[in-house]
């Protein structure tokens, strides 16, 4: 995957020299180990700033919104993993951005590393991390470890079945083999098998240390509402303190708002400073969308999402 970056840079240089795009949204290197940061590159000279590695775990479709597209109709390019591209498609399907204003530089992705899983292997703080192909050399004051990426892959990447962007303008590498999973949702099945009380406790425990920073919401490309319901003050739909009911109300409603739209990109979990696996909410909805409607978000520009079409074949009786 790290060879992709050279292709990404060559593509970007070419795009700028031909004047085809106004800017490229990609990832730049970070200031601390295992960090990258989204960046908008606006000139050929700055293409060198781009990086692509296993720590590009946010979703860049989040930076492509109605309001930050060029007003004159000029194009912007986006470096897109499978999930980023699917969220760009979702933006297009939801009429947020026009297809012809976005140039998708597709990246065949072999998954992102879970920083927390790496950090858990260390007794003290990590001071350096370098990636060479599919291994990392990670150093702290007390230890040094060579870690294989497959051993620290993020959970959503382990269960990803769309590593290659389904829609793109150019690919920065040969497509990678897609995973075929016997059990695509073991985590959801596990929670579903709990009795109601245990399941309630599971979710109560899950969000217990939520600080309501809303990083999960803000890292999510789906959350583009001009004003989120939790930020309304008149009427105020939900209390703003640390009351458990208010915290869970936020999480439940956010998840339901993503039903049939979520690509399980994992940006929400990546962004959460408190280590909350908020995907426990959205994954159930993804499974339902797949089981009931054969739907996976962001795969097709021409197919309408299940929640905005009526079908005589609807699996539920009440709607017929």
């Amino acid at each position: 995957m790290d060879t992709c970056i050279e292709k990404i840079k060559a593509i970007c240089t070419d795009l700028f020299s031909k004047g085809e795009v106004e800017k490229v949204i990609g990832f730049a290197g970070g200031s601390i180990p295992m960090a990258t940061r989204p960046i908008a590159v606006t000139s050929e000279a700055d293409v060198e700033k781009l990086v692509f590695n296993a720590f590009c775990g946010l979703n860049l479709a989040n930076y492509v919104t109605k309001n930050n597209l060029p007003k004159d109709g000029a194009k912007i390019a986006v470096v897109a993993k499978g999930c980023d591209a699917r969220n760009l498609v979702t933006h297009m399907v939801e009429n947020q951005v026009p297809r012809d204003q976005v140039y998708i530089i597709g990246v065949p992705c072999t998954g992102m590393a879970d920083k927390r899983r790496i950090a858990q292997r260390f007794e003290d703080e990590i001071t350096q991390c370098t990636q060479d192909g599919d291994t990392f050399t990670v150093t702290s004051a007390l230890q040094q470890e060579v870690i294989a990426k497959k051993d620290v892959l993020r959970h959503n990447c382990q269960y990803c079945t769309h590593r290659n962007p389904p829609v793109y303008d150019v690919m920065a590498g040969e497509p990678v083999e897609e995973q075929i999973l016997d059990q695509p949702f073991p985590d959801v099945d596990h929670i579903a098998s709990m009795d109601p009380e245990t399941r309630w406790d599971h979710f109560a425990e899950l969000t217990k240390n939520c600080i309501r920073c809303y990083a999960c919401r803000n890292a999510c490309p789906l959350c583009y509402c001009p004003t989120c319901f939790v930020d309304e003050s008149s009427p105020q739909w939900v209390g703003k303190g640390q009351d458990e009911t208010d915290i869970t109300t936020f999480h439940f409603l956010r998840a339901f708002h993503c039903a049939g739209r979520c690509t399980d990109c994992g940006a929400c979990v990546e962004a959460c400073p408190m280590g909350i696996n908020v995907r426990d909410f959205t994954r159930k909805l993804n499974k339902d969308a797949l089981d009931l409607f054969g739907w996976e978000a962001g795969m097709d520009l021409d197919r309408r999402p299940p929640l905005d079409v009526y079908s005589p074949d609807d699996p539920d009786d009440f709607i017929k």
């Binding site: 970070g30 200031s31 601390i32 180990p33 960090a35 990258t36 940061r37 989204p38 960046i39 908008a40 946010l58 989040n62 930076y63 003290d124 703080e125 990590i126 001071t127 004051a141 240390n209 600080i211 309501r212 920073c213 809303y214 990083a215 919401r217 803000n218 890292a219 004003t227 930020d231 003050s233 209390g239 703003k240 303190g241 640390q242 009351d243 990546e270 962004a271 400073p273 408190m274 280590g275 909350i276």
Partner: protein
């Protein structure tokens, strides 16, 4: 200045003994590392914890704190009259906080306890608290506390500073509050002052070697507010920001709060909650107008407050102790060290 040696085999016994006088706070395991919380009897602070994601500011300034309550039952004489919520302000000791967090509390004090205004909730909690810090032997890559007027063995704001010497703690007792805490624990094995201080100096120097960032903010005070405010770099600084509240909530010096009223049946409560300048709601007017309508405005506000307005208003350096929590937790790696450098070096053309 008193030095005490505390054999680690006596530590737990001493802490348990001090519970006769103190409520104990300290780092405890949480699924996200450690956080500083009240410790139930028998629960021991994890003294060698990594830096906690959340700072100890919540000991004095909880994220949600009921400040006033009222009874809405009209058959009562005092119905609808707001009264101060009953809180416990019995002595409490916070164990194992990092020295920069103690300085942070002194910076927060400028807001909550000053000649113009004394916040009763914060002041009472502060008065009740004894701060027992632990020197940081191995500062991590985000720590730049030596640049901000403190450092891994800073004493400011602490009542006791401990140094971890493997099998024992060496304690430097800094205030009468610290003396009372040590006495309540039964820690009374004195140590030679000169030798102990020499040991502290060695540990401090060794620890400081781990901190590579030398952050300069010497030119911020002389700069014009408007020049910085109108500087061209804010769009770049803010580009990646997703406008979550992480940086402000993990920050030990961010003190902004909001006030909320809630009623349930016949009870009313007014409480304050942490607010965050990253949220549009922070400055949303009743009219619908928002003077900080875009994320660029909000990001600029955060850094201007910490690195310019605060500097100008209080003349106490920057509103940052260099703990690096915002750097470590920011989902998009916005690094206050870089922003500070950009601001400090900015010259209007």
């Amino acid at each position: 200045m008193n030095f005490i040696t505390i054999d680690k085999s006596n530590w737990t016994k001493g802490i348990e003994k001090s519970r006769e006088t103190y409520q104990i706070f300290g780092p405890v395991e949480d699924k996200n590392g450690c956080r500083i919380e009240p410790l139930e009897a028998g629960v021991q602070p994890i003294m060698d914890a990594d830096v906690t994601v959340m700072s100890p500011k919540s000991v004095l300034f909880p994220q949600t704190e009921t400040i006033l309550t009222a009874d809405l039952d009209e058959s009562k004489d005092d119905h609808h009259i707001m009264k101060r919520a009953k809180q416990q302000y019995t002595p409490r000791a916070v164990l194992g906080i990092r020295p920069y967090d103690a300085r942070a509390i002194q910076l927060v004090k400028l807001n909550f306890d000053n000649p113009d205004y004394q916040d009763p909730y914060w002041c009472d909690a502060y008065e009740a608290t004894t701060f027992v810090g632990l020197g940081v032997n191995r500062p991590g890559p985000c720590d730049f506390s030596t640049s901000t007027g403190c450092g891994p063995f800073s004493e400011e704001g602490l009542d006791v500073l401990l140094a971890d010497l493997d099998d024992r703690y060496l304690a430097k007792v800094l205030t009468p509050k610290g003396e009372a805490w040590a006495a309540a624990c039964g820690f009374d094995a004195g140590a030679d002052a000169k030798e102990s201080q020499a040991l502290f100096d060695i540990l401090r120097k060794e620890a400081e070697k781990n901190i590579s960032t030398d952050l300069a903010f010497d030119k911020l005070a002389q700069k014009s507010i408007l020049d910085l405010y109108e500087a061209p770099f804010w769009d770049d600084v803010a580009f990646s920001c997703i406008n979550c509240g992480t940086c402000t909530y993990v920050c030990p010096t961010c003190w902004c709060f909001d006030i909320q009223d809630e009623t349930k049946h016949k009870k009313a409560a007014r409480f304050r909650i942490w607010d965050t300048c990253m949220s549009p709601l922070f400055t949303s007017h009743a009219s619908g107008h928002n003077p900080r309508e875009s994320k660029v405005h909000r990001v600029r506000q955060r850094f201007m407050h910490k690195l310019k307005y605060f500097v100008d208003k209080y003349d106490q350096g920057i509103m940052c102790v260099g703990c690096g929590r915002c750097v470590a937790s920011c989902p998009v790696n916005i690094d206050i060290r870089e922003v500070c450098k950009t601001m400090n070096n900015y010259e209007k053309k």
